[in-house]
Symmetry: C2
Amino acid sequence: MAAQLQDFSSEPSVAKYHTAHPLCPLTASEISTTADLVRSVWPANIDLRFKVITLDEPAKKSMVPYLEAEHSGASLPEIPRKAFVSYYIRNTDRFHEATVNLSSGKVEKNARLGPNDHGNGDYDEILQVEKNALEDEKVKEAIKKLQLPEGTAVCADPWIYGSDGNNDDERMYQVFLYMRDPNNANELDSNHYAFPLPISPVIECNNYEVIRIEYLPTGADNTVHEPRPWQSKPANEYVHEYQTLRTDLKPLRVVQPEGASFSLTPTGETGHVLAWQKWTMRVGYNQREGMVLYDVRYDGRPLFYRLSLSDMNIPYADPRSPFHKKSAYDLGDAGAGAMANNLQLGCDCLGHIQYLSAVITDDKGVPTPLENCVCVHEQDAGIGWKHTNYRTGRAAVVRNRELVLQSIITVSNYEYILAFMFNQAGELIYEVRATGILSTQPIDHELDKVGVPFGTVVHPGVLAVHHQHIFSLRVDPMIEGHANRLVYDEAHALPITPDWNPYGVGYEVSETLVETASGLDLNADTNRTFKIQNPSVRNPVNGKPVAYKIHVPPFQKMLSHPQSFNWKRAEFADHNIYVTTHADKELYSGGWYTNQSRGGTGVRSWAARQDSVVDTDIVVWIQFGINHVPRIEDFPVMPCEILKVSLKPVNFFERNPALDVPPSVQSFNQSVAVSEAHHQPSQELVVGKEECCATGERERESKL
Amino acid sequence: MAAQLQDFSSEPSVAKYHTAHPLCPLTASEISTTADLVRSVWPANIDLRFKVITLDEPAKKSMVPYLEAEHSGASLPEIPRKAFVSYYIRNTDRFHEATVNLSSGKVEKNARLGPNDHGNGDYDEILQVEKNALEDEKVKEAIKKLQLPEGTAVCADPWIYGSDGNNDDERMYQVFLYMRDPNNANELDSNHYAFPLPISPVIECNNYEVIRIEYLPTGADNTVHEPRPWQSKPANEYVHEYQTLRTDLKPLRVVQPEGASFSLTPTGETGHVLAWQKWTMRVGYNQREGMVLYDVRYDGRPLFYRLSLSDMNIPYADPRSPFHKKSAYDLGDAGAGAMANNLQLGCDCLGHIQYLSAVITDDKGVPTPLENCVCVHEQDAGIGWKHTNYRTGRAAVVRNRELVLQSIITVSNYEYILAFMFNQAGELIYEVRATGILSTQPIDHELDKVGVPFGTVVHPGVLAVHHQHIFSLRVDPMIEGHANRLVYDEAHALPITPDWNPYGVGYEVSETLVETASGLDLNADTNRTFKIQNPSVRNPVNGKPVAYKIHVPPFQKMLSHPQSFNWKRAEFADHNIYVTTHADKELYSGGWYTNQSRGGTGVRSWAARQDSVVDTDIVVWIQFGINHVPRIEDFPVMPCEILKVSLKPVNFFERNPALDVPPSVQSFNQSVAVSEAHHQPSQELVVGKEECCATGERERESKL
């Protein structure tokens, strides 16, 4: 990554620096100090545009002894506090990364990055791109061709430009234009995705000026015609004022009269230790990954060193320019941390909720609070286990209580609800819900009832192209220790043999060891099930190695051709599982810099080293996803599509770990019997001033 | 099925019979009357053993006009009220089925069934088999060889005998023996599955006498040795008195201060119409299927004529006799209705619950109440949809409220929690949770830490053999009408061509029509998605046919060989999807009589007719399951393993049908913010006299 390395190790040191815990996210003052230190290595007249200022996590070889000392009560080793920075010389393409040692007050590394390493988007940049696109004279002229009604508001959705090898070395934005319902100009939340426009400016990123205007193909083929006069059509609003709301939904509330069962103990200003039902872990947060969980243990037994969403990729199916470049990396291009919603009590989360806040940088190196970006709460998930002895009639039953850590990210049109969940049977579940608004583009009205094979018409003149959502979860295990292995079980029918399996019913399960770093796939025909195992720790009952198995649904792998940029860049999207050896900087399976990337820097490349992954420090990457074939019901906002990945203990415990959950009894649960005589009067729900999130996400001016 | 048809049409008629609705389950008096009528065709000294007395549902060609008249307010056609009966001449193998016309008071059909048609088990029979097995002198002698401690209680788990073609024409039971912890003789709920015994009596079903005693192989091969003296080992209890219970779980309650949003309107004594959030349906129940849903509509638009679990099969992997015959059909062999738990307020169901009860027959034709066999309640299932406009900061969010109809069945050692769920986005979810206790068999202690490839040692001396759980959901659709078709979508990458797809990113979705009845499979590599479509009703926006798509997880198909009885009998277990034309009596995909069956009477055989299934009255059978490779954590009771099948609208509506759900707001939801200062005092939970279900399931004497 480094082109020119600057050495600052001879700089004078500053006063001894103290941090609460090496894994705490950077504090506001650490962010400020880091920005100041980076600025200090440049002449005073050089203005920097910061993309990322985040914790440079300590090397695992330092962190593991630290955690061991922490758990055993021994004295804690010193670990220097460092920050990672990526930044531009403002209004240039000179992109740098730096490592700042906050303990010593030195910039340890400062390197200009290569020509195809580009920074992620940032909020102010997005707003600047929108503004410049809409105010550009040539864009206005193009829009005039549409003969829009007087006073129509045109909106801009800036998109990461993408990669196709055509003069795309410089960083740019592809801006898709929409308009709001001309009959409702004052409704700022009118759904502009119902009115896509066939004009797309391209903006360069030194001065954010429009460099060209593209016209979009709106038929079934490559034909691009001049923008035609706009044809009136209805709006398609999602905000509640435009719906005839149901009146028969009765409130359902979750109450915890004795409070919640979890504890979140602050560490310093930004960190937390979470304890709940024998689970303990450290909760972190950063601009790119959002939530990160460290040092996850059950009943003190080590399970996961680090858990995080590694990236996601959303490639689109329309082969025509410029849509062929639509391939979003919502973490690498934007940041799941940066994009997180400010969760509102009673809107996003039900029950007894604790909110966590975070702080990230803005483009000026100024710490920016992310209030309520994570919510933590319990939920009831039905029955946990039950057995009734039919001879006595005695039922033993417990409920399944889950702990949820949830964050919601808005990436332009789409939302993703991301949650880590834990239960009392020692299981971890990672859940993704996809919701929000389809990315839309214009289609000629003649095709409304005809359609095209690469998308679905979801509103008159509105095409939602098929696309894949492919997620990559990074699991850095420490199942009873750091030397783990990956194996998989498969079930095979036994052949019919007269002496052993004469009736043809027998089958066996055999285990295969994964020896080298590689990409691997599920196989439903053999019930292939991957397990992360520690063979040096044996189950006391049956002698089998302790393990955690992976339950993940299959998905259609990336459909883009291996020759395509899409395929080369989304290095995780071709296999259900990747396994590699641990390397401190190998965190993001699509590579460190995804914006307009070329590939070669992600998990497929790391796996190609073919390191031995047997009984060593391994990392498992779990992919899952959806091939989203839009339907009418997905517009104007789609009902949540839910994906879950589970990690479950296998021969890790000596019996069901949830056996000691107290029995489910009425005095505890206080359910209420509804009688048949109970009437359900209808009720008009008045939704008035009280709105969810009417106060806005972050303090910002509305730029329109 | 009929061997000898008796004609009773000349019998005198009785007074005109009235029923509330043709789809109501039989009432208690209808059950009694039916039993009396069947008895009346036999000499008085002939005693009958009833296996099933259930509603003989009206032919669809009668029912459809009835429902149409009902919905349109027209006058209702007359439909005769009929009951289906299967019964034995008590203490013989003479098995019959009869159809009784309750409206006319006549037995319309009464036929002796063939030699390989056997009836399901019944509760009294199970108890008789247990008793006779344990009291048999030869069994007692065999048990003596084990040299069990004085006063040890031996238990018997009667198993449906199974099929293997070896002198298995007569109906029998294979009884597996266990003992309870000898150190705890007074604990009637001691987990006997921790102490399996190597002795297995076989019992015939005329007089329920032991006809032979088998000894079980307990090693890794076929070797069967004489029962060895019992070796002491620990117990493995699941009831709470033997656990050190967690003390830090705080109550979580679901409250609905204005009541629940659903209404269940009784029809007659046994039926209900359910209405909730635009869903309406008729709820039924019977001995075999448990819950059945009829006439399911959303916003008055027809969706499903009939929904039910069709059967489930659990074949085991141990090829050795007698285990090779273990292959349970929990609906056909026992009855999901008959086996249903009596659900207890606050134990099984959380929140505002309405219970439904049912009535079935016992073996004497006496109506037997099943109190609280179904519970109905709402639950919150997280966020339903959300979008935040980042420019204004306004979030629009609604929660996902679900309606649950749930039943829990205990089939000897295992439990299944079966639920139909509906949500506000027009989606139906069928959920199965597998829990309860693994079926266990003895293994020599030398193998505890060695194991065998066809099972897992879960306790010293206790082997839990691998097995598959394969479920079959019967969906009789009427998507906007009764003429439907089955299609599937697949997504295929476009080839790279310079003029159309030069960047190699394009892909298309194509639809394939299923023309003839057949078994079909999923294919994750093409994202194959099945849809039930009505091409005569088109979406007004995009012109596509209205449809419902099926989301079902893949499963490893039955591993038993096609030559095996297992495979021939479980006709549904070899494909993810079956589609057939509707036939009134084609309800159970494993065949009508599953006990010791031969195959040839289930869905594979019906599909082999290769009827055209295009734009006609079709039935779709959806299979799903688990290959259960036991782990230590599954013992002594397994944490729920959850499977879900979803049916979701595709181009059925004009937009997201949940758009009119009122926004999620704090005044409605009343969440509570937990502060960081909140302490979580630990609390000792006293579990005293108040127990779930201590009062027992049904009134019965405890036979020990």
